[in-house]
Amino acid sequence: MWKTILRRILIMIPEIIILSILVFLLAKAMPGDPFTGSINPKADPAQIHHLMKINGLYDPWYQQYWNWVVHLFHGNLGNSYQYQEPVTRLISGRAVNTLWLALFTTVLTYCFALPMGMYAAKHEGKLPDSIIRIYTYVTYCIPFFVILVIGIWIFGYVLGWFPTTGSVSSTANPGFPTIASRLYHILLPGILGALFGTVNIVQYLRSEVIDAKGSDYVRTARSKGVPEKDIYRHHIFRNSLLPIAAFAGYSITGLLNGSLFTETVFSYPGMGLLFINSISYRDYTVITALVLIYGILNLLGTLLSDIILSIVDPRIRIQ
């Protein structure tokens, strides 16, 4: 298996190189440049040209690409044009915020969804099943930003239970109060995200469990007199986790993707908002760095999913 993993990682290298060239070209092909947005009567166009020049933005693309690669191997992803600070620092700051929120949301989603899926399957066709199915359909069909807006309005503004902007209180003392404040800030977006993101897991799990319920090994277990609780816990649950495990790798590496809607509504500085802003500002260094990171994460996600699958189901071996 280690051999396979190594081989997969080696294949990723040319993929990443091709990806980076594509991203680089596409970013440059967009109309405008990092300074188009800052047109104001006080900005002298000559100074803008000067800035373009010292940043090498007039060089041919292959030269710019080469410079970028050389810097990359020195651990330098360049400076953001918009934020005027190193891209690595900018992204790591945002990544921490995104990770907090995403981790919390994902854990919570599984906590809600797994029992719901099991329960629905156990009571297939009965009232609890119908309620859970309707719940998942409804949450699935309402656009998430609408939920966020309604959620922040009711729980943030009308009831005032939760903070409505940012990732941490501006007056929290360092140490424990800061951590508590951070948790408090991700509570509402996290719960909303979890409550309304259950559909995939619930539906997959439910249908798998229903399938498994009628399978031979379950019948055998039942006939042996294994208690119903243990049948579900040991036999059915583990087997039904397969499809969920299949995308678990993605959801782990996807933690860093950030949620554009949540970040916009809660003014929460994370990766999603950074990505969109960097595109509209033509902040090339940030765009290329982010796409590269996302690309690598996706490739790793596939690999991770395969590994998780092989752990969950020993019959599967990745070759």
């Binding site: 918009q82 005027q84 409505t164 902007t165 509504v265």
Partner: protein, 603 residues
């Protein structure tokens, strides 16, 4: 059977959800009447509650859809959100000014201009200190020019106008280590700096002019950081020092800042215990104010809140609305020529599609901007009758007529100029009989703004002009400016843009013959003459200068090369527990130190 029932329930729930959503938005299209009259000063008659003020927190919202950049240095920062996030530190402003932005004595420094000797003497007050207790020195004044002009600086604020300072160009080119034209009669650590110019300009009397920089840099504090890396340094981002009434306690990257009184401040001591500033997105600001999360929004020269917000917030209980005319305005410009990159000059071409003045005027007479503004501006916008915003009280021409709806006149102008409908076509052709299609450039924006574009197109169609969007639809901002910045472009015949001005009213950088921002390339002898006159020796007399400005505004209107569309108010609600909230430019210098609270809870 069971399945159908389920579907029905799902459908019902969805329908209910949709209804709830519809209930959230208010789709009534009621419009308020004419422009609202705002006061710049909220005169709170309640008495200040001393303990509430001392122990309280003033909560301000920064209305922005994205995190702020976090650059506290006004030379290196390039956008409004940073300026707002760090406003309680006064952005290290040097000068106090009056309501016309004319520099007056009494700020961190006083300025004296000597026309004969061509110098500006800047004298810091004796007790001028940074928030870490160190003195503000003459070197701090000079260092701001080094940060501005250094070749490796990341600033976008540098302009060639600064090369009017003796020795500055040499410093920029690297042939000199210092700027020879800036001297210190009482030493670098003294309080006096003298700037030697090559020529003097009347605009130097005003804040925000392009010759004298209006803030100081803490030289001692940042001298070890290379200028190229200043914007990324901890001295600028994490632990910055200020000269204003409040000092920064904490900055949470991109989302909030918190402040407490700066005991070293030279002027009236700040009174409120804490000020916090939080980023709030445009979608949430109305709800946030309605639920009393904030006392107000950070006051700024440009509008943070628009017409829809005004409709939602105008009757908000416990709050009073104040406002002042914004420094920005929207305008129509016509494509009249090209920019000659060799000579660095704009050239008007008589063969351009829009070169005919009657055609331009007719297009402007066809629009009903008054009605549009009334409908969508909700009283916080008004039709721009000139291309100079009314905040420049003394220079703005109130009596200028501008262009109001007059279809009859528009048709007559076109008929007389030979733009006639020929061969039964519903569109007018040009005087030579060739079909005429006019391309209108506009930036993609909110749905209400795009509805306005549609109205304009419809009005032009009414007078028989075939006007179409460039590229068939409103353009993304980057492509829009990318097109305009080309020295010659034929994609847009006219466009709708916005300019936000500095606090000095000369618009030579927008409409001068050498200005690259003169995207319409409108150049006439008279225009150049008037623009030059705004800063020649006759304009040292304020009355004469004001007269020149008014003459220029009327001239620009008569030529219809660039025509104002809308002025807006920078307005904001203020909670009634706040006292001393006065957003007049004359109070900019001491705005934050004048604030107090009348109760510990919001009203």
């Amino acid at each position: 059977m069971v399945k159908t029932k389920h579907k029905l329930i799902v459908a019902a729930v969805t329908f209910l959800a949709a209804l709830t959503l519809a209930g959230c938005s208010n789709n009534s299209s009621s419009s308020s009447n004419s422009a609202v009259k705002f006061s710049t000063n909220y005169k709170n008659s309640d008495a200040t509650d001393k303990s509430a003020t001392k122990n309280g927190t003033l909560k301000l919202a920064l209305v922005n859809n994205s995190p702020f950049q976090g650059i506290t240095d006004p030379i290196l920062g390039s956008n409004a959100s940073d300026a707002m996030a760090f406003a309680p530190g006064n952005l290290n402003n040097l000068f106090k000014y009056d309501k016309n932005y004319k520099i007056v004595d009494g700020g961190l420094a006083n300025q004296k201009l000597d026309r004969k000797a061509k110098t500006a003497t800047i004298t810091l007050r004796s007790n001028a200190k940074w928030s870490n207790g160190s003195d503000v020195t003459a070197k701090d004044i000079e260092y701001s020019y080094e940060v501005l002009a250094n070749k490796k600086s990341t600033t976008q604020q540098y302009s060639s106008d600064f090369e009017n300072i003796v020795g500055l160009k040499e410093y920029r080119d690297g042939t000199a280590n210092t700027i020879s034209g800036i001297t210190f009669p009482k030493g670098e650590n003294g309080k006096v700096a003298v700037i030697q110019f090559k020529k003097m300009a009347p605009s130097m009397k005003f804040s925000g002019n392009s010759f004298i920089w209006g803030s100081v840099e803490p030289y001692e504090y940042i001298k070890d950081v290379p200028i190229a890396k200043l914007a990324a340094s901890d001295q600028i981002r994490k632990n910055p020092i200020f000269t204003g009434p409040y000092k920064l306690d904490k900055v949470v990257e991109g989302e909030s800042t918190s402040w407490s009184p700066n005991k070293y401040y030279y002027g009236k001591k700040a009174q409120i215990g804490h000020i916090t500033i939080n980023v709030v997105s445009m979608n949430n600001i109305d709800k946030a104010l309605q639920s009393k999360k904030y006392d107000s929004v950070v006051p700024f020269a440009a509008a943070s809140l628009g017409g829809t917000d005004y409709k939602n917030l105008k009757n908000l209980k416990g709050y009073t609305n104040i406002g002042k005319p914004s420094l920005s305005y929207s305008y129509f410009a016509f494509n009249l020529g090209h920019y000659d990159t060799k000579t660095g000059k704009n050239v008007s071409d008589s063969n351009k599609k829009m070169a005919n003045k009657s055609l331009r005027q007719a297009m402007m007479y066809a629009l009903n901007i008054d009605q549009v503004t009334k409908k969508f501006g909700n009283g916080v916008k008004q039709r721009a009758n000139t291309i100079l915003p009314p905040i420049f009280d003394k220079y703005y021409d109130k009596s200028a007529k501008g262009y109001t709806l007059n279809i009859k006149k528009a048709n007559k102008l076109l008929d007389d100029a030979g733009y006639k409908k020929r061969n039964g076509s519903k569109w007018r052709s040009d005087p030579k009989g060739k079909p005429l299609t006019i391309h209108f450039g506009a930036m993609s924006s909110s749905s209400s703004t795009e509805a306005v574009y549609q109205d304009y197109l419809q009005q032009w169609h009414k007078i028989g002009l075939n006007v179409k969007f460039t590229n068939g639809k409103p353009m993304e901002m980057n492509s829009f400016y990318d097109t305009l910045q080309k020295p010659t472009q034929n994609k847009m015949d006219l466009w709708l843009g916005v300019w936000s001005m500095s606090s000095e009213p000369t618009e030579s950088q927008l409409y001068g013959d050498t200005a690259p921002f003169n995207y319409g390339h409108f150049v006439t002898k008279k225009n150049t003459e008037l623009i030059n006159k705004m800063n020649d020796s006759t304009s040292w007399n304020d009355t004469t200068r004001a007269k020149t400005f008014k003459e220029w505004q009327n001239y620009m209107n008569s030529q219809a090369g660039v025509v104002g569309e809308q002025f807006s108010y920078a307005w904001q609600p203020v909670n009634n527990r706040v006292k001393g909230f006065n957003i007049s430019p004359a109070n900019d210098d001491s705005f934050y130190s004048n604030l107090t609270l009348t109760s510990s809870k919001m009203k």
